[in-house]
């Protein structure tokens, strides 16, 4: 399927969930609660079609064709 990720086109397998996407982008393995398997904080948040998806829901949230995803993290500022 085709989605938008942070404003750019992106292709994913049809059964992809938010967990699939976050793992793909960050290269980190996630547990079912959305925490990184290596025990270090992953420090990202996901919005799907302008709604925040809590990390506890990442695994259960299937993506759909045309979804608009934003993945954000902490950067220097303020």
């Amino acid at each position: 399927m085709n989605i938008k990720l942070n404003g750019a086109d992106h292709t994913l397998s049809d059964d992809a969930s938010v967990t699939t996407l976050v793992t793909h982008i960050t290269g980190r393995t996630l547990d079912t609660k959305g925490q990184a398997a290596d025990g270090r904080k992953i420090g990202v948040a996901v919005a799907r079609n302008s709604e925040v998806v809590p990390r506890s829901q990442w695994a259960a949230t299937a993506l759909a064709e045309g979804d608009e995803l934003e993945i954000v993290t902490a950067v220097q500022g303020g």
């Binding site: 942070n6 960050t26 904080k41 993945i71 954000v72």
Partner: protein, 268 residues
């Protein structure tokens, strides 16, 4: 909450308490403007800060090193901000993302009016404070140096109010010390002087005016020697706090001799 720092006995017993969390340092740092993550880390350590702001932006896989991890590694608590938001709606969304990403309900609320002045938009700020407090956020409201607005934000449930000394990044210092003093005198939540600080004496003045803490970024990150400037601010905040507590002498119109006139030797 101890980022490497040495403290005197007088400051150890004088913790800054925000939302039940104690901080030994009254210097809150921002992270904007630093050319490298390594340099930033060294400056933050030199400043002794225990609380530091970050912005939320799109994740880019090519990033080298994570700012969040750097702060976690140094035991510095993270305070996400809503920098770049012009509306309450954007600020609320950014705060929600920050809460998810960084697992904190603390947020430095910044709702600016335009890119030219970067001044807070009072109407959107009030609206956003109300919405975020409703959603369980601990709001650190970045505000104009307006005593009326500051009190209103507190009454809406802000955890701390953060009046500006001068517009962001200007380094002009505290343009209206009288207003800052007035805000402090009426506040029952912590008052943090935020923005406009240029050099160490500005931070000392903020503390002498009675502020509970000082927040700055550019003055350190864009200084010629950020590590040395970070250390300068560490001492300035401590000095200003001590001076405030010690009680300054009143200002006088005329000189007052500190040496007695009696008992002077006489010369022919």
């Amino acid at each position: 909450m101890t980022a490497a720092s040495t403290q005197t006995a007088s400051t150890q017993t004088d913790a800054l308490v925000i939302d039940g969390v104690e901080f030994g340092s009254r210097l809150i740092m921002g992270t904007g403007g630093a050319p490298s993550l390594d340099g930033l880390g060294a400056a933050l350590l030199a400043s002794g800060t225990e609380l530091t702001t970050v912005a939320m932006r799109r994740y880019t896989p090519t990033e080298t090193g994570s700012l969040f991890q750097l702060l976690v590694d140094h035991g510095i608590r993270v305070l996400p901000n809503t920098a770049g938001c012009f509306t309450a709606k954007d600020a609320v969304m950014t705060a929600e993302l920050a809460r998810e990403a960084l697992e904190t309900d603390w947020v430095k609320l910044e709702v600016i009016a335009d890119e030219h002045t970067l001044l807070p938009d009072a109407v959107e700020l009030v609206d956003a404070t109300e919405k975020l407090v409703d959603r369980g956020f601990k709001v650190f409201a970045y505000t104009n140096d307006d005593p009326v607005l500051a009190l209103r934000l507190e009454n809406l449930g802000a955890t701390a109010v953060m009046p500006l000394g001068a517009p962001i990044g200007t380094g002009l210092g505290i343009l209206n010390p009288h207003n800052i003093e007035l805000i402090v005198s009426r506040a029952s939540v912590p008052v943090v002087l935020d923005a406009g600080i240029g050099t160490a004496s500005d931070a000392a003045l903020a503390m002498e005016l009675g502020c509970d803490a000082v927040l700055l970024a550019t003055a350190v990150t864009r200084a010629q020697n950020p590590v040395q400037m970070g250390e300068a601010f560490k001492h300035a905040v401590i000095a200003g706090r001590l001076a405030k507590q010690a009680g300054r002498i009143p200002r006088r119109e005329h000189a007052l001799a500190s040496s007695a006139m009696e008992g002077r030797a006489e010369f022919l």
